[in-house]
């Protein structure tokens, strides 16, 4: 059965529209959203750095080199070395892997779980929705970092647990937003039609409702990326995230901030800048995605 949106598309006369290449579309988007374009470039650079870390760095990110302790930034070590003689540029590049892996994993898992739960809650409605939303209220009432700290203190440290710790507080936030869109979708006749045809709840939710709430889902997903990276860095800074010798920005900042802020400021400064740049880029990118996908903002 075709949905109303499918019908609307089929009635359009595509031949009447001028053919536009994808390059033109990118240029057009970049012109309309310059900040979004810059942030998208930054995100792409970060992903490339993480993917090609082995190729673009000259040093081992975890090997101690005690004859090069506390070397200031220079030709041999662009960002200097830390207290163990490790090259900070190399560790930042490899740290991007940790940040992106944790950031993407947590935001995709959190948003997707929130999407399913939010749509499910809206679809079933009634007492189920009422009770489920009160649970969501409880989770949302805790600040992200407090919730993440609680999860880590229960399950322990380590990359998987950090992802879990970041994922859990993201779920209710996404579920709440998606539910509001799904409530409107639920009232559209094609959902009633699907019910009348005897489709299972799971099929209605996954085939007919979720595809129609993808816009808020994608907006939340991109918005969560920056938050997840920041949370990972915060947990690592507090000693509750990934552990040495794994390169991670928050961990690098923690290792250098207290003792070396004065005598070797490059140790905390560069990881701090990396966190700032990544969060800034992902937030701007999320804003641009929202502006593009949100119909109200698009019409403005």
């Amino acid at each position: 059965m075709a949905s109303p949106s499918d019908l609307a598309v089929s009635e359009m006369d595509f031949d009447a529209l001028p053919e536009r290449s994808w390059v033109d579309r990118i240029k057009d988007t970049a012109r309309k959203k310059p900040l979004g374009a810059v942030s998208a470039c930054a995100v792409i650079v970060m992903v490339l750095l993480a993917a090609l870390a082995n190729i673009i760095t000259f040093y081992d990110p975890v090997q101690n080199a005690f004859d090069s302790m506390h070397v200031a930034p220079g030709a041999a070590h662009w960002f200097g070395t830390d207290q163990f003689g490790r090259d900070i540029f190399t560790r930042i590049v490899f740290g991007a892997r940790t940040a992106l892996f944790v950031g993407f994993s947590a935001s995709i898992l959190g948003s997707t779980a929130g999407l399913i739960l939010g749509v499910g809650s809206a679809y079933f409605g009634g007492r189920f929705d009422l009770i489920f939303q009160r649970f969501m209220d409880i989770f949302i009432s805790f600040p992200l970092i407090i919730m993440a700290l609680s999860v880590v203190s229960i399950f322990g440290t380590g990359t998987q647990n950090v992802i879990l710790a970041i994922t859990i507080p993201l779920i209710p936030r996404c579920a709440r937003v998606v539910r509001s869109s799904a409530l409107a979708i639920r009232e559209i006749p094609y959902v009633d039609a699907a019910r009348a045809l005897g489709f299972a709840h799971v099929r209605i939710i996954f085939r007919h409702m979720i595809p129609n709430v993808m816009a808020p889902y994608l907006i939340m997903l991109t918005a969560f990326l920056g938050q997840a990276i920041l949370l990972e860095a915060s947990l690592s800074y507090l000693g509750l995230g990934v552990q040495e010798p794994t390169p991670a920005w928050g961990l690098m900042l923690q290792g250098g901030a207290e003792e070396y802020a004065e005598s070797a400021p490059w140790i905390p400064v560069f990881p701090g800048l990396a966190i700032t740049a990544a969060v800034f880029a992902f937030n701007l990118f999320g804003d641009a995605v929202r502006d593009t996908l949100d119909p109200r903002l698009r019409s403005e």
Partner: protein
């Protein structure tokens, strides 16, 4: 003629030396008054010294109490120099074949609540420490396993009788945790009263404790060491973060921190404060150990454990880590400066201390291959979530093990869960552990290596009756030379042949403090010399 010239020269030199000595500035006389503010980086679990073992309690609470004997405050670096605190004269010589010690207790001492101190109070204290009633904890009960009886025949006399003669007894008496309690308090309030209440005979009286903020004490006017304390009072400020402790000293919100700072912090403070800062440094009776879990494969195999210790380059580690962490000294099981400690020559014959690290690592790889791991294996290092020196040393040993093909992840836990894992859950592969003692007493300090059913603090979970036997022999052996010979065998077996668990590096204590703090002398332990009765402020 030549003789006359020589005599003239000698006389002239002597006169010059005399003149130089007479013009040398005399050590300033202590000044009275002022409040000492110091920062403490750990919490107070309870006030009861008999059950606690943290500097978080010792630093703020020790000044309220006295001991029977204590490490000489003027010579705290010496492992054998003890002086009387509530006893009279010097530390008594043993009689009856070195099995009886008779102490004369001073009769001019009062508790802070006004009650007189007698030998009955000291006896009640040691009864609580050595043979506490059922259900009452005592952390250092094992230190007094040689004691047969404690008696107080009259108010001025206290007698310890030992089961066998041992050099470990007198240092055990000087442990800074052996606070003297009033018998009346124990009888009236029970043996847990001191966990939340203070009534001692120390140099300072308890004023208040604001949990998480500070502990305050004021001068006890009837203190038994006449003329002391010099201070009007003190305030022990709680500051768990090192950055805050450092800034407190830098900004003169606190004058000193008694545990110790890493070298970089010392350098930064010195650079900022110049002459206003004095730095005292000392070897530290603490070491960080690596403890493999013998109940987990492949750490049940001595070859694998030997490979782990052989991979570690302690000599290079000492050189470099001492620049970033509070570790420095290479040593075996005994505190490095002690007569019972291994010499450098003796150490270099133990696995993991060989001077040629390449040869050592080649042997480690050979052992791994022989044990069935030619390509190494993966495991997790359990560690405590404290930077200095735990996490720094943890990161270092992981790198050392990489060099023999081992892939190691680090699992860091805060102190509470860390101890729970070591003591109860025991679900670790290899853990960082430590052996931190106060009074240097190697005969007892090395008990960490005996079987786990005998040592209360051995977490590797092995039993080695040979080590138990040598431990007993050492403790009952009056001849120091023979003690030393047994200690070498004990050390070789524990660290090398069986490699049950092994020492990484010994800690190094660095105490930068405001130069106006006088009288306090650094000791080889952050638990010692914290009575503060000899500290004064020169402002």
């Amino acid at each position: 003629m030549r003789n006359t010239r020589m005599k003239t020269l000698i006389v002239a030199a002597a006169l010059l030396a005399l003149a130089a000595w007479s013009f040398a500035p005399a050590e300033a006389a202590p000044k009275k008054g002022g409040t000492l503010k110091f920062v403490v980086g750990s919490k107070i679990p309870s006030y009861d010294g008999h059950i606690e073992s943290t500097f978080g309690m010792i630093h703020p609470i020790r000044p309220f109490y006295s001991l029977l004997i204590r490490v000489n405050p003027d010579n705290p670096a010496s492992p054998t120099d003890f002086v009387c605190d509530v006893c009279e004269g010097g530390v008594p010589q043993p009689t009856e074949g070195h099995t009886k010690y008779t102490f004369k207790i001073r009769d001019d001492i009062s508790f802070h609540n006004g009650q007189k101190l007698t030998s009955a109070d000291v006896k009640a204290t040691y009864d609580k420490i050595i043979s506490p009633p059922k259900g009452i904890e005592s952390n250092r009960k094992a230190f007094f396993s040689m004691v047969k009886s404690v008696t107080a025949p009259d108010p001025k006399t206290l007698v310890f009788k030992l089961k066998y003669p041992t050099g470990a007894f007198v240092p055990a008496l000087a442990l800074p945790y052996n606070f003297i309690y009033a018998k009346a308090d124990l009888d009236k309030h029970g043996h847990k009263w001191h966990q939340k209440n203070v009534n001692g005979t120390g140099a300072f009286r308890f004023v208040q404790h604001q949990p998480g903020a500070f502990v305050e004490g004021k001068r006890y006017e009837k203190y038994h060491h006449k003329g002391k304390p010099y201070l009007d009072g003190y305030r022990a400020i709680s500051a768990p973060k090192m950055a805050i402790r450092l800034q407190a000293i830098r900004g003169d919100r606190a004058a000193i921190e008694f545990r110790g700072f890493p070298p970089k912090a010392r350098d930064d403070l010195k650079k900022a404060l110049g002459d206003k800062l004095t730095v005292q440094e000392s070897d530290w009776n603490c070491n960080l150990m690596v403890t493999p879990n013998h109940k987990r494969k492949p750490f049940d195999d001595a070859r694998v454990r030997r490979a782990l210790t052989l991979a570690i380059d302690r000599w290079a580690g000492s050189k470099y880590l001492s620049r970033i962490a509070i570790v420095k000294t290479v040593g075996g099981v005994v505190f490095p400066k002690h007569p019972l400690a291994a010499t450098k020559e003796e150490l270099t014959k133990i696995a993991g201390y060989w001077p040629d690290i390449n040869k050592s690592r080649a042997e480690a790889k050979r052992l791994l291959k022989e044990a069935g791991y030619p390509n190494g294996f993966e495991f997790t290092l359990h560690n405590r979530g404290v930077d200095q020196p735990y996490k720094v040393v943890g990161t270092w040993v992981i790198d050392q093990w990489r060099k023999i093909g081992l892939k190691v992840k680090q699992w860091v836990q805060p102190s509470g869960p860390f101890y729970a894992t070591l003591r109860k859950k025991k679900n670790f592969d290899v853990s960082i552990d430590f052996n931190c003692q106060s009074v240097i007493n190697p005969l007892v300090d090395v008990s960490k290596f005996i079987s786990d059913d005998r040592a209360g603090n051995q977490y590797a979970q092995y039993q080695d009756r040979q080590l138990d036997k040598w431990f007993e022999e050492m403790n009952r052996e009056p001849d120091v030379k023979k003690q030393r010979a047994i200690m070498r065998k004990y050390e070789k077996r524990a660290l090398d042949e069986m490699a049950h668990q092994f020492v990484t590096l010994w800690w190094y204590k660095i105490n930068p403090h405001r130069s106006y703090v006088k009288g306090w002398k650094i000791a080889p332990s952050h638990y010692l010399n914290q009575h503060l009765d000899n500290v004064w402020i020169d402002k």
